[in-house]
Each structure stands twice: as structure tokens, then as C-alpha cells.
């Protein structure tokens, strides 16, 4: 009788330990899943902040920014935009730095012109597709846009444009 009771108690202990272990494993799995999710979310948030900051930082690149007698101004040079477009094409430096993005600048004032700027159409165009690296597959797409000051060196005049940055992930 005693040995049966002992067996029962042993079985009960084993069952309790077993359930405890299952609960512990379940807890750990949940914990790591949440931690992983948190880290991923933080990474995405940081990337999003970096991406949103690009409406300020991208036009400040020396490759685009206009300058007068070596003094930098808060505008982008329309001639430099064309130069950048050809330079960034299939360029690994910019691909590594910018990643999966699509950056375009449109002219809004003095006139809207949807013609894409190329060397041949430089005097009659209003859209500069600066960087284009759209992945074949992506989960989400973020878009930020902001007005931008455009400088036309040939006319020594300023216009208003809009920079549109699309980020794919």
C-alpha cells in the first residue's frame, strides 16, 4: 500500500515538474519572440527616422547642393542633379549607401513640367529621376515628400521643386 502511495506521489511530482517545464519553455519562447519583435520594430523605427531625415539630409549632399563662390547655399543645383543621376546609375557606392529607394525631384514653380531631364532635354524638362533601385519584392513602401529650392545656373534664377523619396523594405 505504502509503495503504491509513494508511486502516486512520484508520478504527481513528475507531472508537476513536467507541466512546470512546459510552462517555462512556453514562457521563454514568448519572451524571446517578443524581444525579437521589439528589436525588429526598433530597427524599423530607426530606419524610418533615418529615411524621414533624408528630406533634410539628401539635398545637402555636396553632389547636389548649390554653391556661390565656394559658399554653400540652401538649394540644389539643377545641373548637378543631372550629373548625379548619371553618376548614381549602377554605382555600388550609392547603392550601398541608399539601398532600396527611389528618389525623384519635380519642378513646381515657375512651371510644372513632367518631362524627364536628360542631357538632350536639359533646357525643357522638370523631373529628375535621381536614384532608382526598386526591389522586385518588397513588404512595404514609405513615401516622404518635401518642397525644395531649385537653382537654374543657366538663368541664374531659383524655382520651387518637390523631392519625393520612396523607401522599400
Amino acid at each position: 500500500m505504502k509503495s503504491k502511495k509513494g508511486q502516486m506521489q512520484m508520478q504527481e511530482t513528475i507531472l508537476v515538474v513536467f507541466i512546470f517545464l512546459i510552462l517555462m519553455i512556453f514562457g521563454f519562447v514568448l519572451f524571446f519572440k517578443f524581444t525579437e519583435q521589439g528589436i525588429l520594430q526598433e530597427y524599423l523605427n530607426n530606419e524610418k527616422i533615418r529615411f524621414e531625415a533624408m528630406i533634410t539630409t539628401f539635398p545637402l549632399l555636396p553632389e547636389l547642393r548649390c554653391s556661390f563662390l565656394s559658399q554653400e547655399a540652401s538649394c540644389v543645383d539643377s545641373y548637378k542633379l543631372l550629373g548625379f543621376k548619371y553618376m548614381a546609375k549602377d554605382n555600388n557606392f550609392y547603392r550601398n549607401k541608399l539601398g532600396a529607394m527611389n528618389i525623384t525631384i519635380y519642378s513646381l514653380y515657375p512651371e510644372r513640367n513632367s518631362k524627364v531631364c536628360e542631357l538632350a532635354t536639359i533646357n525643357d524638362c522638370g523631373a529628375w529621376d535621381l536614384y532608382n533601385n526598386i526591389p522586385k519584392k518588397y513588404k512595404s513602401k514609405y513615401v516622404v515628400r518635401s518642397p525644395i529650392s531649385l537653382y537654374y545656373p543657366d538663368k541664374d534664377s531659383f524655382g520651387v521643386g518637390e523631392i519625393v523619396i520612396e523607401w522599400y523594405n
Binding site: 504527481e12 508537476v16 507541466i19 512546470f20 510552462l23 517555462m24 512556453f26 514562457g27 514568448l30 519572451f31 517578443f34 524581444t35 519583435q37 521589439g38 520594430q41 523605427n45 524610418k48 527616422i49 524621414e52 528630406i55 533634410t56 547655399a73 540652401s74 538649394c75 513646381l108 514653380y109 510644372r112 516622404v144 515628400r145 518635401s146 518642397p147 525644395i148 529650392s149 531649385l150 537653382y151 538663368k155 541664374d156 534664377s157 531659383f158 524655382g159 520651387v160 521643386g161 518637390e162
Partner: protein, 160 residues
């Protein structure tokens, strides 16, 4: 003996309850209390400032005077292109802002005044479209040469 068994069972239950509580706490910490980043108004502020900067660079009056300088002339009650500088600038600004407003915005307020402490007061030039009471204002631009400041406020289509 029976009491001991009961005690053990209660202890087991306690362990399960404690584990469930810890699980729930983790859930609350990592899922419910996840901070939500609200960066939208920052972006609108940047957009407003960029638009203001772009407008100030534009040259008017036969590509001779920048709006930045023209506002200074307006402040000193001068003339521009054969008419009162303030009236001239007002018309030009309306035209430029109308075509340059970022998507999703319909109302704006462009105010030039005296730079006092943290705001632009005693406005001498005010170009507006709609009420635009609860929009996002750009950081202040202060022109030291002519001693004036400018704030551009943008309002979304559905928010007034």
C-alpha cells in the same frame, strides 16, 4: 498526510498563477506599452520650413530681387517694380505658394513681422488662404539684415 498533499497542490497552482502573471506582464510591457512614435508633425514642420526657404530664394521683378530682400523693402515701405512692395509681394507669394503647396495641404498662413523673443509679432505682411488655425508652423526664419522674421503655417485638408 492529506493536508500536505493539499498544500502541495495549492503550491502547484500558485506556481502556475505566478507564471501566468509574469507572462501577462511581459505581454503588457512589450506589446501594449510599446511607445508609439509620432513623427508626422516634425515632418510637416520641416516641409513648411523647406517651402518657406524655397519661396524666399525665388527672384521676382524680372529676376532681379529675391523675395527675401523684397520683404525687407516691404518692411521699409518701399516700392518694387513700380508699385508698393508689400502689395507686389503679396500677389507674388499667393501665386508661388498656390503651385508649391505640398500635397494634402490646402490652407496656409505666411506671416512676416518683428522678431520678438520667441515669436513673430506686429505683422507687416500677411498672406493667408483659409483660417489655418491648427496647422503646423515652420521654425522662425530671422533676417538680420532687414530685421524681420517669417513663419509659414500649413494646414491639412481635413484639419482646421
Amino acid at each position: 498526510m492529506k493536508t500536505k498533499k493539499c498544500q502541495m497542490e495549492i503550491m502547484g497552482l500558485m506556481v502556475i498563477v505566478v507564471l501566468l502573471v509574469i507572462g501577462a506582464l511581459f505581454y503588457v510591457k512589450f506589446v501594449v506599452l510599446q511607445p508609439k512614435t509620432e513623427g508626422a508633425s516634425d515632418i510637416i514642420g520641416v516641409q513648411a520650413y523647406n517651402l518657406m526657404n524655397s519661396i524666399l530664394n525665388v527672384k521676382v521683378c524680372g529676376n532681379n530681387v529675391s523675395i527675401r530682400n523684397a520683404i525687407g523693402v516691404c518692411k521699409n515701405n518701399g516700392d518694387l517694380c513700380g508699385e508698393n512692395a508689400c502689395n507686389y509681394i503679396e500677389k507674388e507669394l499667393e501665386g508661388i505658394i498656390k503651385v508649391s503647396m505640398p500635397k494634402d495641404y490646402s490652407e496656409y498662413g505666411f506671416i512676416a513681422g518683428k522678431p520678438l523673443q520667441n515669436s513673430c509679432e506686429e505683422a507687416f505682411l500677411e498672406v493667408k488662404e483659409g483660417d489655418c488655425k491648427y496647422g503646423v508652423a515652420s521654425p522662425r526664419y530671422i533676417n538680420v539684415e532687414y530685421d524681420y522674421c517669417i513663419v509659414l503655417k500649413l494646414c491639412r485638408k481635413n484639419i482646421k
